[in-house]
Subunit: 301 residues, 2 copies
């Protein structure tokens, strides 16, 4: 899709117009199972003519700014945080990053510690691992640690990467449960607010592999002002200036747009009944395709 | 969706206008695993507030015309045709049909036998079982048996039901392979012509359960003049007058419409590369929703 001219977002209140800051940072949201060195290839990686080993993490490294950039790894979402963190420490060292620091945040008290904020202030980027996205929002929501990351993202050329749960938590609304029934029945998808680096955008992961378009459609049905971004495994979006989206990796990104829906039964039916939603617009995008989010990331607005 | 006024389809050739016959018969395309008596419930059947045991097969019986209607069962697609046929004989007898006749067609020679055509001439409806849709087209294509079914469908109130492979074979194009990679890579979906009771309609089954929307999108990308109908398990569409579609059953029907696509890379990329397709319109429809196919079933045109 053609890249539209960027416009400064404005908020109008009390007859005043306030310009919102365009974030200087970047987001790299990954659909899970991104290629790492020494890992066995998935079927699609093996069959795809365009597969590049470690393509997404190489791009993360390429986007780091400064000499000898330091990368912070946040394994809070993981059930095995030490192992999860070490796999990224090893991978980034393979990719030429000498300084990789692990943020050992397992509960809210850890997210209040100054030492962890200091790591973020010195880092060129952060990698948020997979696991359970609810741990990320429940442990980080409202902490000084999260505020520090938001400041870096807003005012500096700082990159935030998240894979699987780490990607799902970046935006809001955040889907955190709903594998049963594939989300066909009303109430079968659990949604809460995410970490809000993007607003009015729902990011879901393992999207094609786990057949998650129906649960995304139910999320969009509850508020068609949101855009759904479904990330397949080993596939990512790089978001710049809060809204310019570029696809990277082996698979497809699925954009689900409900703004032109013509029929929506979600408010007419009871919990446990199947919902209808007609007129959804869907874009399937392979690597190098671009997309502009219609709703601007309104950080701090 | 609102039911549009039916228009007689016309073909223009040599400055003449030919009216095509509106089929008097009905099609009942089922996404597989339709509820039968004495079978264990699936998760969605157990959780859905609207689940009705044997709802789809009861509707088939209700649509049969005549006194003491005879039902023919065609198990040609199945790897175990005797067992497959007997499960439907038992089910229809439970539902009050005393006369159920099995069409023992295992190769093309069987589809030329007059006795099988005679069964179709006397039947009020036919049930085509699941299995491999390629067996249905390869064994029945171009036979007098298929011609007899088409005549009944065109000129009589005759109902043709097909489940899984039996549903996929009803229309054309017919997807017959492509579970690998979920269809993200060009060439990963195998398509041929189906039995053509509907034209320019691709029917795929087990659609949500097996996450098949990407393979359908690739089929539509190769010719956006086709409409994709994705049937979930225990979910069906009843098609009357060749184009009026009504949803029946527990799950959702997914309609994939590529007529407004804005970007399609399928002809620019090589086999084995991921494709992009933007601007797809998708409708998710629960039971009782209706839809009108934009392209008429042009039987014998």
């Amino acid at each position: 899709m053609a890249k539209k001219k960027n416009q400064q977002p404005v908020v109008k209140a009390n007859n005043q117009t306030v310009e919102l800051p365009v974030p200087k940072g970047k987001l790299l949201a990954i659909g899970g199972k991104e290629s790492k060195s020494g890992e066995e290839q998935t079927e699609v990686q093996r069959l795809s003519k365009d597969f590049i080993s470690e393509e997404i993490l190489k791009r993360f490294v390429k986007e780091l700014r400064g000499e000898n950039p330091m990368v912070a790894v946040l394994p809070t979402a993981s059930g095995e945080p030490d192992e999860s963190a070490q796999s990224y420490v090893k991978e980034f060292k393979n990719l030429g990053i000498n300084d990789v620091q692990v943020l050992d945040i397992r509960e809210r008290a850890d997210a209040m510690k100054e030492e962890n904020c200091e790591i973020i202030k010195k880092a060129a980027g952060i990698m948020i691992t997979g696991g359970d996205q609810l741990k990320l929002t429940a442990i980080l929501g409202g902490t000084s640690f999260l505020e520090t990351i938001k400041e870096r993202y807003t005012f500096n050329d700082f990159i935030i990467a998240g894979t699987s749960a780490g990607a799902a938590a970046l935006s809001t609304p955040m889907i955190y449960e709903g594998e049963t029934n594939k989300g066909m029945l009303k109430g079968d998808v659990r949604i809460t607010t995410g970490l809000e680096f993007l607003k009015n955008v729902a990011i879901d992961t393992h999207f094609i592999q786990r057949g998650r378009i129906i649960r995304m459609a139910q999320c969009i049905a509850t508020n068609p002002g949101c855009i759904g971004i479904g990330l397949e495994e080993d596939t990512a979006v790089l978001v710049t200036e809060g809204r310019h989206v570029e696809v990277i990796g082996t698979g497809l990104v699925t954009v689900v747009d409900g703004m032109k829906i013509t029929r929506n039964s979600i408010y007419e039916i009871e919990t446990g009944e199947p919902f209808s939603l007609c007129g959804i617009t869907v874009h399937l995008m392979a690597a190098e395709e671009t997309y502009v989010l219609p709703v601007f990331n309104q950080l701090h607005a």
